[in-house]
Amino acid sequence: MPDTNIFALRNIEFHRNGNLLFSDISTSLESGDILQIEGPNGSGKTTLLRLITMALSPCLGEITWQGENVTHIREKYLKDVLFLGHQPGLNESLSVEENLIWWRRLNKSNSLTDSDALKRTGLIGYKSISCSHLSAGQLRRAALARLHVAEAKLWILDEPFSALDKEGSSELKILLLEHLSRGGIVVLSAHHDLEIKNMKRISLVSSR
């Protein structure tokens, strides 16, 4: 099946400052799969997500994308990856739209216009407002606007629901489901149950 995007973690182990954070994390995902990483604060959820984005490299084990180790196909793999971290990655002195524009120019993006993406995130009225004037929830929405324009198949989202209101959360959930139905893959960390069918889970335990 050449068309299925197989993403796999094999026996991932990671130490921080000499302490074992987690070990033997293995899973494999195919098109349309969603993986939730859960665990208490400090258990390494963000670290695991950053391992998947290649910002960190695992002490042991390998991450594969379409059967190849990601370290061998770095650029090709990263073209398929979209990462939204804990911090929104928005410059405070740029407007919402300007922040979206530079990002999409450097990533594979679809034909949706910036205005449409902002309309869908409910920020169209704030398009030219500088990000320093936005609330935490609005910043989160501004960061999530990238999901609308991205072509990436693998979405890696670190606590995407934090600071979002009820409406925002349900919109995001619909967005995730749409992405899955298009054959995308989602890896996310979240504290609450998302109530999505066939969700895979990895539970991390606190290391101390």
Binding site: R50, T53, M54, A55, L56, E75, K76, L78, K79, V81, F83, G85, H86, Q87, P88, G89, L90, N91, E92, S93, L94, E98, W102, W103, R105, L106, N107, K108, S130
Partner: protein, 223 residues
């Protein structure tokens, strides 16, 4: 042209233009010191003229050092740096773009302003052209070398002391050749030697520094 380079270049220039006030800081510092020196030392133009080249260069170096903090800090704090590092683009060119923008908004205005300040210190006429030339190259080298220090000290909250300690030894040759070239010009000697050395320092750091800085930035987000 490399996409990563152009996009980051335009983005950073836009950000810099939004913070015009901050941009003036090193220049104002440079200006104030140069105005104060004749008051503190001597207003006698012959004595000032003798030390003008050295003072202008030392102050330009310190002014450039002052502006280093801002190079990557904002991007690091708001998560942009992480986004940039995981882009499917070579980090080398994006880092280079950042450094060039930094030079455009700090080193370049400083170099262009230097002749006016030279006049205040009664620098002799022969020195002006070489002063601007050496500062143009010199501040570019300072921005490049400073970027390495700024990237290395990123994850440390308080780096007011550490950053100068790291970059000062690297800055010294630039200062020596820079100030020396102006002095040689004032004394009527050929300046090709020191300027050529600065040119080679510039081209060497232009090639090597983005690599080193990119590596340091990768390390910084692992904290």
């Amino acid at each position: 042209m490399n996409t990563g380079f152009t996009v980051i270049f335009r983005r950073d220039l836009l950000v810099a233009m939004r913070h015009r006030g901050d941009l003036a800081n090193p220049i104002i510092f440079f200006f104030i010191v140069i105005v104060l020196i004749p008051l503190g030392l001597t207003p006698e133009s012959s004595k000032l003229g003798e030390i003008a080249s050295g003072i202008l260069w030392v102050m330009a170096l310190l002014a450039s050092l002052l502006s280093l903090d801002s190079l990557f800090q904002n991007d690091y704090d708001d998560g942009t740096l992480e986004q940039i590092i995981i882009l499917p683009q070579p980090l080398y060119f994006m880092v280079l773009a950042k450094i060039i923008v930094h030079w455009l908004v700090t080193g370049l205005p400083l170099s262009l302003l230097a002749p006016i300040l030279g006049m205040m210190l009664s620098l002799s006429d022969e020195g002006y052209l070489v002063l601007v030339l050496s500062l143009l190259m010199g501040t570019a080298i300072l921005s490049l070398l400073g970027a390495v220090g700024a990237a290395l000290t990123l994850p440390l909250g308080k780096k007011a002391l550490l950053l100068p300690l790291i970059v000062m030894p690297l800055y010294m040759p630039v200062l020596i050749f820079g100030a020396n070239s102006v002095q040689l010009a004032v004394d009527g000697f050929s300046v090709i030697g020191p300027l050529a050395i600065m040119g080679s320092l510039l081209s060497l750091s232009l090639i090597v520094v983005p690599y080193v800085t990119a590596g340091a930035l990768r390390l910084s987000i692992q904290g």
